[in-house]
Assembly symmetry: C2
Homo-oligomer: 270 residues x 2
């Protein structure tokens, strides 16, 4: 009855920067990357947030690049002394970090004459053997070495680099998502959802409670007897690479909720 999910490459994200772990900066790149990888059929299986620490960067990259098809990093490739990602990546792969003629040409053309100062020249140092990732925002490039893709931490630049990079990577089957929203707390649906999950082991089913203050509760969300005035609701999210199986799971869950007299709405599939 069940089918295996269609194949997807796997990936990990590594967000590098003291400022995120100290709480000074709110992490702002992961959600963009996750959505773009999802649309490409690449499964983001894990993310790590680590400090600007060479040993930690090297250990993390060495572990993840062997475990996953792709590793994407964010942060630490600017002009100041605390930007140590490029050197750490070079050491991870056992190659030299050297001024890259392509990067030198890009930044020489970008700055006014004489503007490629020693600090800015630091941004032309790329591990030997890497391919550049273009930076349409501020020109200093990211790079790809093996299956590790190194991008900037500034969100506008990170996003632009992701958009430059992803068309060049092999994707896989796209995971489709079908959301069913119930105006009722998730504990009232748990049994139905668990039963359907058993029938569809190949469809991932998640239950995400939410809270809407009473003034925002729609008049159509009457709920059942035990929750008619409850501001709690639940989003049931079904995910699969197989559209037909996803439709079957949606219909089975809908029939179960209807039989239990639990009102629900089906969102458009994404």
């Amino acid at each position: 009855m069940s089918t295996n999910p269609l194949p997807q490459p796997t990936a990990a994200a590594v967000i590098i920067g003291n400022e995120i772990l100290s709480g000074r900066t709110v992490e702002g790149n992961l959600n963009y990357l996750a959505k773009k990888l999802g649309a490409k059929g690449i499964h983001l299986a894990e993310a790590r947030l680590i400090e600007d620490d060479e040993a930690m960067i090297m250990a993390t990259l060495n572990e993840l690049r062997r475990r996953y098809d792709y590793v994407f990093t964010s942060g630490g490739i600017g002009p100041t002394h605390d930007d140590i990602t490029a050197l750490a990546v070079a050491k991870t792969f056992g190659v030299e970090l050297r001024p890259d003629p392509r990067a030198v040409a890009i930044l020489t053309a970008h700055y006014p004459p004489g503007g490629l100062t020693p600090a800015r020249a630091k941004m032309t140092e790329i591990p030997v053997g890497a391919e550049l990732i273009p930076n349409p925002v501020s020109k200093a490039p990211g790079f790809s070495l093996g299956n590790v893709h190194v991008m900037a931490g500034v969100p506008d630049i990170f996003r632009a680099m992701v958009d430059e990079l992803l068309p060049n990577l092999a994707g896989g089957a796209v995971t489709l998502a079908q959301t069913i929203t119930c105006a009722i707390g998730e504990s009232f649906i748990a049994a139905e959802l668990a039963a359907i999950q058993k029938d569809f082991p190949d469809v991932q089913m998640g239950s995400y409670p939410f809270y809407r203050p009473p003034s925002q509760t729609g008049s159509g969300s009457s709920g059942d007897g035990s929750s008619s005035s409850s501001p709690f609701g639940t989003a049931l999210v079904l995910r699969s690479t197989d559209a037909a199986r996803l439709d079957q799971a949606r219909d089975a869950l809908g029939a179960s909720l209807t039989a239990q007299k639990i009102p629900f709405t089906v969102e458009p599939r994404t």
Copy 2:
């Protein structure tokens, strides 16, 4: 000349949930935890975002609970079949997951008579030997087992649990931060900052560029000749547990910037 940083306990955060790695949900707990740990003098050294996968949760917790003084988790302790964190933690420690009389009493008192349904009763199942973490929002508790502290994923509940938990944990020396803001791109300050960093190896120095559209640029931010019309600015952040050393580093950096005719403002210390 340098002094060692004052002692701080170390910590890792583990954010558990498919919905974050799929991009459906924006991670919303880490920054709150980071700030609260910082105020307590606990060093958040690493964070991991993983899926609702028993083997992954167990492997991650076993690695991190040995490496750090504290591990804080978020997510996966609700009433539905995809909430597997409590069972995974029990297996990690090799103890049973059982209905906890304290949790049963809390939820029995909270719901109307007969309201402790089988799904809700799942939230009373706690690893044997754990202490409960109170949940002032929706009552179903988190728990602490060894140095692993297990909390809910819903942000309102996670934050309330953090506030309940932290007063009971031993903290350390609080890291103080001093921010110096320059209306100039970070490459113009890189050399000065690197020189000061060498004199103050015990003070962590970070450089964080930012971009302000021209209409928001203050009239006092004239910059130097090469950047007088630049919308780019840089926040230099100095961090140390030692207030005296932090003051010395701030003064040294200020003197260096003044000598280079780079305008700057000193933010209040936090």
